[in-house]
């Protein structure tokens, strides 16, 4: 039943990736200030459909701000962000493009604590997409199956472990059938023994051709999944490279230092 939607996205992927070189997401000279603090400093980045980007860097380097700007949780102050050729601003066209294309997973899960897992998953499809309850339930069941917790559908978030909650959060985002998934440190709030189950789900998702931008410090995972690594520091993109080059021969000193620190343990 869900195959149709996957056909849609892969078709779109083929259509767009086909030679023309148009990028699905493009950031051009994007800057963002919090007061005087320059969170993003002239960031440019292009991401094609189906690509997996992992962003890393020290805390406060602007990684989260970058993906939050792509979802318009933050509004950028200058430069331009476009998704599928639509410039992100306050227009309804921009809102529609976000609604139809972008899903997000947060560090703190941000499940709705007063709603059951089923209600968490169906709220978006029913209210924002106008789907009927029965179809939305089927959709929820399908994606809960994919994140491997179909048996938890009637429970409430607080009855689940952290790893399970984060998988529900992934399923909630998937229920909106986005083209792109944004992950903002999806495992940073988890106990160590639960990190693997969440990364596994994200890896499978990557394997299915989903476009992804993931902020994480899980370098092993990044090595498996990423097409491209992006290293940020002080609001700038310092280095971007395929993972094998990125880990074996980082060019900048800042990146070397960062990798030494993070890989030491």
């Amino acid at each position: 039943m869900r195959d149709s939607t996957h056909a849609r996205s892969t078709q779109a992927a083929a259509g767009r990736a086909g030679g023309s070189g148009t990028d699905f997401i493009s950031l051009r000279h994007v800057s963002k200030f919090f007061g005087d603090f320059r969170a993003l400093d002239d960031v440019s980045l292009d991401i094609g459909l189906g690509q997996k980007i992992v962003i890393c860097g020290p805390s406060g380097s602007g990684k989260s701000t970058l993906i939050r700007c792509i979802n318009r949780l933050e509004t950028h102050d200058s430069g331009e962000i476009a998704i599928d050729g639509v410039r992100l601003d306050d227009s309804t066209a921009a809102r529609a493009v976000l609604r139809n294309n972008v899903g997000m997973v947060f560090q703190q899960f941000n499940l709705f604590p007063h709603l059951s897992i089923l209600e968490n998953l169906t709220l978006g499809p029913v209210r924002a997409r106008g789907m009927d309850q029965v179809a939305a339930r089927e959709l929820a069941e399908y994606y809960l199956e994919r994140v491997k917790i179909p048996e938890q559908i009637e429970k409430y978030p607080h009855q689940l472990s952290g790893g399970q909650q984060q998988r529900v959060a992934i399923a909630r985002a998937l229920c909106m059938e986005p083209q792109i998934m944004l992950f903002d440190e999806p495992t940073s709030a988890l106990d160590p023994e639960m990190i693997a189950e969440v990364l596994e789900v994200i890896e499978e998702l990557a394997g299915s051709g989903m476009t992804m931008i993931c902020v994480t410090h899980e370098m092993g995972f990044a090595g498996h999944v990423a097409d491209r690594m992006v290293f940020m520091d002080h609001g700038k993109i310092v280095e971007t490279a395929p993972p094998q080059d990125f880990f074996s021969k980082p060019k900048s000193d800042r990146c070397k230092t960062f990798l030494q620190q993070i890989l030491r343990h």
């Binding site: 979802n71 949780l73 609604r99 703190q108 604590p113 709220l123 209210r127 607080h158 959060a169």
Partner: protein
């Protein structure tokens, strides 16, 4: 220490009587007249409750409508919220009741019944407090909830209705209960424009029976019982809503 000195005094006051004897006959249920008087007093309950409940429903709605602009990022809607809250909070309820009943019909060229004048005055007066309660409740909800709602593309109204308000209302339930109790008590002020609620009835009976001590004592007990019942109801509701999810 103070209590031990006050207690005998209180006992003396209630049991011994201050200036003469108690005349409980006015509300003695075993006599026909007493029973009639008692029923006359208790009948006021209907208007006290109708007045308070209608007013609080309106004030909750009004309060929410005033609270929402107070949460906006832009300055103008926040100013609207501030001005409303500060102005309304500054007017004594009794003054507002008098103004709505005697003033408003002239200004707006309408006729308004005692009941609706009372409801309107109580609701407006309370709405400023409700607005502050709602604002605090909504602000207490984690930012991540707003962001998650945004990430699944909920509209502002849907976000408030399905995500934020259900959580906020649970948190402000004790404060809402407080306001209901407050409203039940303040409804006594509507007696001044002739509303036949508990206090007005007691006043009227005092005029005919000349037994203020007994009649007002009954009035005190009426409010006490009413409010204890309401408090218990609010606590029960809190417990029930709290049980649904614990974080």
């Amino acid at each position: 220490m103070v209590m031990t000195r006050l207690l005998p005094l209180a006992a003396l006051f209630f049991l011994g009587g201050c200036s003469g004897t108690w005349g409980w006959y006015v509300v003695n249920p075993s006599t026909a007249a007493g029973q009639r008087n008692l029923m006359f007093l208790i009948d006021g309950l209907y208007y006290t409750i109708a007045l308070s409940v209608t007013a609080i429903l309106i004030s909750i709605f009004l309060g929410l409508m005033v609270a929402l602009p107070g949460l906006a990022r832009q300055r103008p809607p926040r100013m609207v919220n501030r001005v409303y809250v500060e102005l309304v909070r500054a007017v004594p309820i009794l003054v507002l009741i008098l103004w709505v009943y005697y003033g408003l019909p002239q200004v707006a060229d309408i006729s308004i019944s005692v009941f609706w004048a009372g409801v309107l005055a109580l609701a407006i007066s309370d709405s400023a407090f409700q607005a502050e309660i709602f604002r605090a409740g909504i602000q207490s909800i984690d930012r991540g909830q707003h962001e998650a709602a945004h990430s699944i593309s909920l509209s502002y109204v849907d976000k408030m209705r399905f995500v934020i308000l259900p959580q906020a209302i649970k948190r402000i339930l004790p404060a809402l209960g407080n306001q209901l109790v407050y409203m039940l008590k303040m409804s006594s002020l509507v007696s001044v424009i002739g509303m036949e609620e508990l206090t007005r009835r007691a006043n009227e009976l005092v005029v005919t029976e000349y037994r203020p001590l007994e009649i007002y004592t009954v009035l005190v007990i009426e409010y006490l019982v009413l409010i204890l019942v309401v408090s218990a109801g609010v606590r029960w509701l809190e417990m029930r809503m709290g049980a649904a999810d614990r974080r």
